[in-house]
Symmetry: C2
């Protein structure tokens, strides 16, 4: 049987999972690839570190040049996180004639154009299924399986840490900090979870999907984003009473005014598939103009789910499919953008608004009046009892009908100027 | 830009959708394929028939030889249903050097080995994404995206007609015939829906997925199957009261005793993704040993969802991906089977049993005794009120704990011999 030699750079969580699939299940990859994927080198920074992965003798090295100089190695899984030295290593590997498989979405989101242009110049390929949604094969599904469609919208839960935390906050009625701490204890959140909980990680993934699905040329940090780190469990409760769950949603919608992109916590109606995504799972709902809605659900992170995506990419690359797909991807190419970004203010939708108001007559009339001035219709109003009866502050929750985000922002700014309204207004979109 | 000439054989519902995508959205397919997919011929049986599809002059023909004799045509979407003349046409097209795309699962399930062997001999390919679950790209996901996994189980709702009917029966409390009639009015069931409602269609699709996911070499009509055509809405109600919905499930599970395959209505707990699949939608839950559970949901039939899958296959074939995948598929090859079929009696699971018994003391004790003799533990018992108080017949619903199917069958046979038990026992598996 034909043999393709491969290498792994980085033997962390994902790297050791990839090594396990290649070493322990070689028969399986051979069957699906029609050839043996032969692991020739595993590059690590520190040879002396203890590892759980059992590797055959002679495989482990701390010398990247051994991989680059080995002409038999065709495919390299580059599994080092962060920007540097990951970027330099990828450029060296490409220059050395290797096809790359990676899970590093931060690097792609930050340096995609440079890396992809370089790969194209050199006639090489970069596969990156594992960079978005871990085990859910959303990259192949959008770029290959749904290629007869214009994608019209995309709604995803792309960050397992955030979803674990909001699931805990809502189910167990626990505050943000405590839920995050629990996620860290269970290994669903890193020691420094900033990029996960502030929406950056989701925005990086959404940028990749927006390039693929809509031909957008947006940089991840241009996407308006808000994370879950500012959510109050009070709003989880109020939303729950109204039949909604709050989820961190990566949102893309093709409109006449351009492409709307945002990452933000939204209210999702119970019973809708995205509302039922629990704990650390990920999910994506894609609408194509031919296929209609297609929904994907699975594990968005973790050793073996991510390794599953990496090894599938290695097989695709060894077989030759990736080269064919990469040629037509147009990803991060310098061509003219196919879609313009829309002004976020133009987005229409329903909103959940919570104002902290003084418990006195006439307040609701003032709120309703200012909303009406901006053509915002009210679907329902709930005046809750005060958390603390002494301070005379009561939360008022208003669910609006479909309104322009710009108008909602204006109305909220006016309402916050009222002397009967205290600080701490919450404003969340409702997913339609 | 490079050009690949393609043809369509059969201009029914799916064929006209495919023509629309190719003719109206040529820019899109060109972008995703890196080449123009140029529609050169559309073959129909009867040129005089009225059609909704507007085709450019000169495209339509009733002469298949025009396609076969045209050396420029590389890819043919063969969209005629049924066995003959579809089979002969496919063999002629393959002999004429064409790569084939098809949605005809009945033909593949019946004559897959012959057609695939012929394609392999001739160095051609057959793509068949549209043959299972319509717009859900389950074929590519199992054969390519999850190729690093051993699939361990698969649970699918693969027949939109059946799912529409059971959704109606349960939601609207309507009997089978009325629900089926409504499905026919709305275009979700054909005039002769036999193959859909008796489980044959689901078994044909399951056979294809079992070949792909497990390396099974089973024929579709060897799969134990029961359809929805014998379901009573009474059981829908009782199941609903217990927190379950009844769904037609195509089920595959890899066990130590071999591969369990079955198509049968099962109770699915409300809240589980498969329980929430409504109307004519399809869904599949696949578990891989690396990726864990992955869930797919979308439209399993209809003009544009199916056309979406066909055109994606046409792009894959034109680009060259299909040829690479087809080589390693092992599908319907004459090799040694990788998995043995298990004895259905060896399957362990919980059961819903409904007995019609005489309303008299001591009956429950006899039922419980006979179940106990076969080592079947009872999880709960519900004695319902009689539908008709005069005849003295009351339904007793028993939910068992996990038991061997063989034992359940034996116990039910013994119970049905009791003089206090009337005809019409129902026995349904509970999906775990």
């Amino acid at each position: 049987m034909e043999k393709t030699e491969v290498a792994i750079v980085g033997l962390g969580t994902v790297g050791s999972g990839v090594a396990r699939l290649l070493l322990d299940h070689g028969d399986r990859t051979a069957r699906h690839a029609g050839r043996t994927l032969w692991l020739s080198h595993v590059v690590v920074r520190d040879l002396s570190r203890e590892r759980d992965a059992q590797l055959p003798d002679g495989l482990l090295t701390d010398d990247l040049q051994r991989v680059i100089a080995d002409p038999n190695v065709k495919v390299v899984a580059q599994l080092i996180g962060g920007i540097e030295p990951a970027r330099s290593i990828m450029l060296q590997l490409l220059a050395g004639g290797k096809d790359i498989v990676t899970a590093n979405k931060a690097l792609l989101a930050e340096h995609g154009p440079e890396l992809f242009d370089r790969a194209r110049q050199l006639g090489r390929s970069i596969a990156f299924e594992a960079s978005v949604a871990g085990g859910i094969p959303i990259i192949t599904n959008i770029s290959q399986c749904l290629s007869a469609n214009q994608v019209t919208s995309l709604r995803g839960i792309l960050n397992g840490t955030s979803n674990f935390v909001v699931t805990r906050m809502q189910q167990n009625n626990q505050p943000y900090e405590k839920s995050l701490h629990r996620a860290q204890q269970l290994g669903f959140a890193e020691a420094d979870p900033t990029q996960d909980v502030d929406g950056s990680d989701s925005a990086q993934k959404l940028a990749i999907l927006a390039h693929l699905g809509f031909g957008a040329r947006v940089r991840w940090n241009e996407i308006p984003r808000r994370g879950i780190d500012t959510l109050d469990k009070t709003d989880m409760n109020y939303a729950g009473q109204l039949g909604y769950r709050i989820k961190l949603i990566a949102f893309a919608l093709n409109t006449d005014q351009g492409l709307q992109l945002t990452v933000t916590p939204m209210l999702v109606e119970v019973g809708k598939p995205l509302a039922e995504v629990r704990e650390n799972f990920n999910a994506i709902s894609v609408v194509g103009d031919a296929v209609g809605p297609v929904f994907f659900h699975g594990q968005g992170a973790g050793r073996m789910p991510t390794a599953s995506a990496v090894v599938a990419d290695m097989i695709d690359t060894a077989v030759g499919r990736t080269a064919l797909t990469f040629k037509t991807l147009e990803l991060w190419s310098e061509g003219v953008p196919r879609v313009e970004m829309a002004d976020p203010g133009d987005l229409r939708g329903q909103f959940y608004l919570r104002f902290n108001v003084r418990d006195e007559p006439g307040v609701l009339g003032q709120l309703a009046g200012l909303l009406g001035d901006e053509e915002i219709s009210i679907a329902s109003v709930f005046q809750h009892t005060a958390d603390n009866e002494d301070d005379g502050v009561v939360p008022v929750v208003i669910m609006t009908r479909a309104s322009l985000e710009r108008n909602v922002n204006k109305a909220v700014a006016e309402i916050e100027k009222l002397s009967c309204v205290f600080a701490g207004t919450e404003r969340l979109r409702i997913l339609d």
